[in-house]
C-alpha cells in the first residue's frame, strides 16, 4: 500500500472516530421518548419526573421546560406548569424564518443541537395560549391576563401572520374570556370582536357560574430528518432536510354533554397542525436554501480529498469510496435540527358553559377513529370560573411512529411531500429566473 493511500485511510478512520464519538450522545428525540411513552400511556406525573430528572444539554433547557410544562399541566399541576412556561418564555429567543438570513437560518437548523433552541413566533404564541389556560385553571386571573396581553401583542405586531393564515380565533377568544374575568371589559370586547362569534363571549347570567371546557386533541406534528441525494456537479450529494411529520390520534368531532343533555355551544378552535403545516410550506424555500448551503462545505471537503489523493496509480477507487464516505459522515455529523415541542396537541377546542351553582357532570366525546369518552364532575360556584381540561392523547398509547436518527425517508409520505415542495420551488425558481 502506498503511503498516500495509508494517509487517506488514516484520515477517513479519524473522521469515523469523530462520528462514532458524536453518535454516543443521545439526540433530543431519543431523550424525550421515555417521557413521551409515559405521557401517552397516561402516566403524566411519571413523564414530568422523567423530564425533570433527565441530564440535558443547556442548549435544550428551554425546550425541556416546554415539555415539562405540558406534562405538569396534564397531571393537573397548573401552577408548576405555568411557572415553567413563564421561565421558558423569558429565555427563548425567536427564530424568524422570514427575517433571518439564509446562512444564520442554516446555522440554527443544521447545528445538530449545538446551538440553543430557538422558537418560532407561532410557538411563542402557543406558550402564551397554554399559559392563559394554566393560570385560568389555577384561578390566577391576573397572571392569565398577562399572558393574554403577551398573546395579543404577538398577534397585533403581526409577528404571527394573523391575516395570512386564519385560525387564531381561540387565542383571541381565550384572551377575551380572560380579560372579562379580569373585569377589563374594553379589552375583552376588542378581543372577542377579533375572535368572531364563539361561546366564550357568552356571559353568565345572574345566578350562574362558568365552566370553561377545553379539549386538547391529538398530537402536534413534529420535525424529523429526511435524507435526500441530489445529483449536483455530476455527483450525488446528500441533503439533510427537516420535515414536519403529522402524527396520528386526532379525532374528527368533539361533542359536549352537560348533565345528560347535548350542549350546543359555538366552540373556538386553534388548529395547531394545520397552522404548523401551512407555516412549514411557507418557510420551505428558506429551509431548502439553508439545507443546500450545508451541502457546499461537505462537497468541498470530499472533493478536496479526491483531488489530494487521486493520482492514477491504481488507488482511485479507494479515494472515491473514501470521498463518498467522508461526505456521508459529515452529513451524519451535521444533521438537520429536529428539536421541537412534542407534547403539544394537534388542536385545541374550547367552549364556555354557563350553569347554575352546584355539581354538574360534563361528558366530552372525541368521536371518529379511536373514539374516546371523558366524564368530569364539576362544582360550579356563583360568579366563578371552573376549568375542565381534557387531553385526548394522554392514555391513548404511544403509537407506532418511532423516531430514528438519520432515518432515510426516501419513498415515505413525508419525503414525497417534501420532494413535491422542493420541485414546486425549483419550478417557480425556473419560471421566475431565480
Amino acid at each position: 500500500m502506498s503511503p498516500r493511500i495509508a494517509t487517506m485511510i488514516r484520515t477517513t478512520a479519524l473522521a469515523i472516530l469523530v462520528v462514532v464519538l458524536g453518535g454516543c450522545a443521545a439526540t433530543y428525540a431519543e431523550q424525550i421518548e421515555t417521557a413521551q411513552r409515559a405521557y401517552y400511556r397516561g402516566a403524566t406525573e411519571q413523564a414530568a419526573g422523567v423530564i425533570d430528572a433527565t441530564d440535558i444539554d443547556s442548549e435544550d433547557a428551554a425546550l425541556w421546560r416546554l415539555e415539562l410544562a405540558s406534562a405538569l399541566q396534564a397531571s393537573g399541576d397548573y401552577q408548576a406548569a405555568a411557572r415553567e412556561l413563564v421561565l421558558a418564555d423569558q429565555s427563548l429567543e425567536i427564530l424568524d424564518y422570514v427575517e433571518e438570513p439564509v446562512a444564520e437560518l442554516g446555522e440554527a437548523l443544521f447545528s445538530a443541537g449545538a446551538t440553543s433552541y430557538r422558537a418560532s413566533t407561532f410557538e411563542k404564541l402557543l406558550i402564551n395560549t397554554q399559559n392563559m389556560l394554566n393560570f385560568l385553571a389555577a384561578n390566577d386571573i391576573e397572571s392569565a391576563a398577562v399572558e393574554a396581553r403577551r398573546a395579543r401583542m404577538l398577534l397585533l405586531d403581526a409577528e404571527v401572520p394573523p391575516r395570512t393564515f386564519v385560525g387564531y380565533e381561540l387565542v383571541w377568544a381565550l384572551a377575551g374570556f380572560t380579560f372579562e374575568q379580569r373585569q377589563a371589559y374594553t379589552d375583552a370586547e376588542d378581543s372577542f370582536r377579533e375572535a368572531g362569534e364563539t361561546s366564550l363571549s357568552w356571559p353568565a347570567e345572574h345566578g350562574q357560574g362558568t365552566v370553561l371546557v377545553v379539549v386538547q386533541d391529538g398530537r402536534a406534528p413534529v420535525l424529523d430528518q429526511a435524507v435526500f441525494r441530489l445529483l449536483i456537479g455530476g455527483r450525488l450529494r446528500r441533503l439533510n432536510l427537516p420535515v414536519l411529520v403529522r402524527r396520528p390520534g386526532r379525532h374528527s368531532m368533539i361533542t359536549v354533554d352537560v348533565d345528560g343533555a347535548p350542549h350546543y355551544g359555538v366552540p373556538a378552535e386553534l388548529d395547531i397542525e394545520t397552522l404548523a403545516m401551512a407555516r412549514y410550506r411557507a418557510d420551505m424555500p428558506k429551509i431548502i436554501a439553508a439545507a443546500a448551503l450545508q451541502v457546499v462545505p461537505r462537497a468541498v471537503l470530499s472533493d478536496g480529498l479526491r483531488h489530494a489523493y487521486q493520482d492514477g496509480d491504481g488507488g482511485d477507487a479507494f479515494v472515491e469510496v473514501a470521498a463518498v464516505l467522508m461526505e456521508e459522515l459529515l452529513g451524519e455529523i451535521f444533521p438537520a435540527d429536529t428539536r421541537s415541542w412534542t407534547l403539544l396537541p394537534s388542536r385545541i377546542h374550547a367552549q364556555r358553559v354557563n350553569l347554575a351553582p352546584g355539581r354538574h357532570v360534563v361528558r366530552i366525546e372525541a368521536g371518529g377513529p379511536g373514539a374516546r369518552v371523558f366524564e368530569r364532575s364539576v362544582d360550579v360556584q356563583l360568579g366563578q370560573v371552573s376549568v375542565i381540561n381534557v387531553i385526548t392523547s394522554v392514555g391513548a398509547g404511544y403509537g407506532d411512529r418511532p423516531f430514528a436518527r438519520g432515518r432515510d425517508l426516501t419513498g415515505s409520505p413525508e419525503a414525497v411531500q417534501a420532494l413535491a415542495l422542493i420541485e414546486d420551488v425549483l419550478v417557480l425558481s425556473h419560471l421566475f429566473g431565480g
Partner: protein, 197 residues
Amino acid sequence: MCRLSMFLMTLALLPACDPTFTRASDDPSIDEAALSTRLDRTDLDLALDNWLAGFEASPFYRRATTGDARPNIAILRIANDTSEHIGSALDNLLNSAETHLVQSERFKVVDNTLITRDAIMAERLRNLGDSVDPETIAALGREYGIHYFVNGRVGDTAEKSGDTKRVQYYLFMRVTDVATGIIEYQHQIDITKQLDD
C-alpha cells in the same frame, strides 16, 4: 482532511469555562445594569423613593400624622395590568413601602399577612384589579380596624420595532380612607425599560 479531524478533536477537548460569581458589595455596578424589560431592584428603589417623597410632602400626610394617635394603615397590593410577569417585584415594592412606614413610626401598620390569611378577604382582593369595592373597604375597617390602605395598579405600553423592545410602565399608588372611601393621596411613577437585541 486530517486538519479538519484534528480541529474537531481539539474543539471537543477544550476545557469548559467556569462560571464567575460577583458580590454586589464588592462591585456595586452589577446592580445597575438593566438585564431585561421587567422591573429590577433599581427600578423599585427609584419608584419607592419617588412615591415616598411625594407622600411625605402631601397635605394628607401632614394631616394624618398630626396629633398623638397614630392612624392604622395597611398595604394591600398593586394590581399587575402589564404584559410582564412582575408580580413578585410589585410584592417587593409593597414590602419596602411597608418597612418604611413602620420605621417612620407615624402610622400603625397592620400586618398584611393577617389580611391575606383570611381566605375570603384574600380572594376578594386577589382578582379585583385596582378598584376595591365598598363592601371590601367596609370589611377592612370593621374586621381589622384599618383607617387607611395603600393599593395601586401598574399598566404598560409595550412596543417592538425590529430588534428593539420598549416597555413603558405607569405605576399608580394611592391611599384610601376606609371610613369615606375617598382617595386621599395618589401618585404616578413612570418607568421605561428598553431591550436592544
